[in-house]
């Protein structure tokens, strides 16, 4: 990040090489359109180039995933009159214990932890995160009562947190 702040385009190229699969993967999964996913990838990396100070602490990949998801939600909002979920951008968690603990977690560990969740918990979490839809829309699409969806999201996130914490402490 120091090199990016110094406008080092070679450092930026290395950053792109390391993370473009993540950004494009999220964009494609959410937008389901390769051209738009490419555009969003371009937009996300340009944003980092222009504002390298936007990232402070924690897991850079997770932060980048949030930036990409926010961008994809913006695209989904502009693309259709569908009800999209709101992103919690008002309350910062940088510096929280979990931010520090999870700083080095990689995609493989997250994939494994997600795969270990029961389907009934993983499904609404992934639908919400990657589908960019609200808990109400998840309930409507799955036919599961809204209260149950909310409970499953919470218990799924708590279990995921516990599993990830245990992989870090191993």
């Amino acid at each position: 990040m120091e090199r990016l702040r110094a406008r080092d385009s070679v450092a930026f190229e290395h950053l792109y090489d390391a993370y473009h699969r993540l950004v494009f993967g999220i964009a494609l999964r959410m937008l389901n359109d390769t051209t738009m996913a490419e555009d969003l990838t371009q937009s996300v990396f340009l944003k980092i180039w222009k504002s390298p100070d936007a990232f402070r602490d924690g897991n850079f990949g997770a932060w980048l995933a949030r930036v990409t998801r926010n961008g994809a939600l913006d695209v989904l909002r502009s693309r259709a009159s569908r009800a999209t979920a709101e992103i919690p951008s008002d309350i910062a968690t940088e510096g929280s214990i979990d931010e520090i603990v999870f700083a080095k977690i990689d995609s493989q560990r997250v994939r494994s932890a997600l795969a270990a969740l029961p389907d009934e918990q993983r499904s609404p979490i992934e639908m919400g995160f990657f589908g960019g839809i609200t808990h109400e829309e998840i309930a409507r699409r799955t036919g599961i009562p809204l209260g149950t969806v909310k409970t499953r999201i919470r218990s799924g996130l708590r279990r995921l947190r516990g599993d990830l914490q245990s992989t870090v402490s191993r």
């Binding site: 385009s9 699969r21 997770a62 979920a85 979990d98």
Partner: protein, 253 residues
């Protein structure tokens, strides 16, 4: 707490977002739950990392780095461009073709360059539209953050009404309502204000609450100039004068 988890995952509808934000800011237990779940929710995105085919990866990188090098205005950019041009040029020279072939090649290259430039222009145009959309949404988020700061400010003045409260902070005025009766079809809620030193009821903003009867509404008027806020049910589009009995009338004193 289930709503806090939904908030951390980012699956709350817009109409509940500000309410839950205010709840988290005001409630230490909710804040702790949010701080526990938000980093986990952020990590979920990492699971989407997928291999990108090399042609696409190279194309995206070239497009991005072209823009970045132009913006960096550093020797790196000149070196990169030179390398590309040089590669093409050496390939051509190495072929040892006659001058006529060179002219033909130049013509084909020019046509291809026009086509590539067109594609690049289209891509940049789409990216510019996307940036504009993102900037617009950023402005909305900034406005929301400002509203939440007003609503949770310790020095905000709060005027209770049966359905919630009227909140004044500085020159800003909000209605934070949580138990509004359902609206008949074709009707909306409309706010009304009376300016200090007058008795005239002036029409203000119209809105529709959530199905649960909740709404947070920022009034456009300068709160310092007002003495009374009222609410009534009106036809869609609002009215110039109230056409129904007031839901509440609240003096700001």
């Amino acid at each position: 707490m289930d709503l806090v988890a939904a908030y951390a995952l980012g699956v709350l509808p817009a109409r509940e977002h500000a309410l839950v934000t205010a709840y988290i800011l005001a409630n230490p237990a909710a804040r702790a739950e949010f701080e526990a779940l938000r980093p986990t929710a952020d990590l979920i995105g990492l699971s989407a990392e997928e291999p990108v085919d090399s042609a696409r990866s190279a194309r995206m990188k070239q497009r991005l780095m072209t823009t970045v090098r132009q913006q960096a205005a550093s020797p790196v950019g000149a070196t990169g461009s030179g390398r590309t041009a040089g590669a093409r040029s050496s390939w051509f020279v190495g072929a040892g073709l006659a001058a006529a072939a060179a002219v033909l090649f130049a013509l084909v290259s020019t046509i291809q360059n026009f086509s590539l430039r067109g594609e690049l222009a289209n891509a940049n145009s789409r990216a510019a539209a996307l940036q504009s959309q993102i900037a617009q949404n950023e402005r909305v988020r900034t406005r929301d953050r400002e509203m939440i700061a007003d609503l949770t400010a310790p020095d905000a003045q709060r005027y209770p009404v049966p359905e919630g409260e009227v909140v004044k902070h500085g020159s800003h005025l909000y209605l934070t309502l949580h138990s509004l009766p359902p609206l008949p079809r074709g009707k909306v809620y409309q706010a009304w204000t009376i300016a200090k030193g007058t008795k005239n009821l002036a029409p203000s903003i119209v809105f529709t609450p959530s199905p649960a009867g909740a709404a947070i509404v920022a009034l456009p008027e300068n709160a310092d100039t007002l003495s009374v806020v009222a609410l009534s049910v009106e036809p869609e589009g609002g009215s110039k004068v109230p056409t129904s009995k007031a839901t509440f009338v609240r003096p700001l004193s």
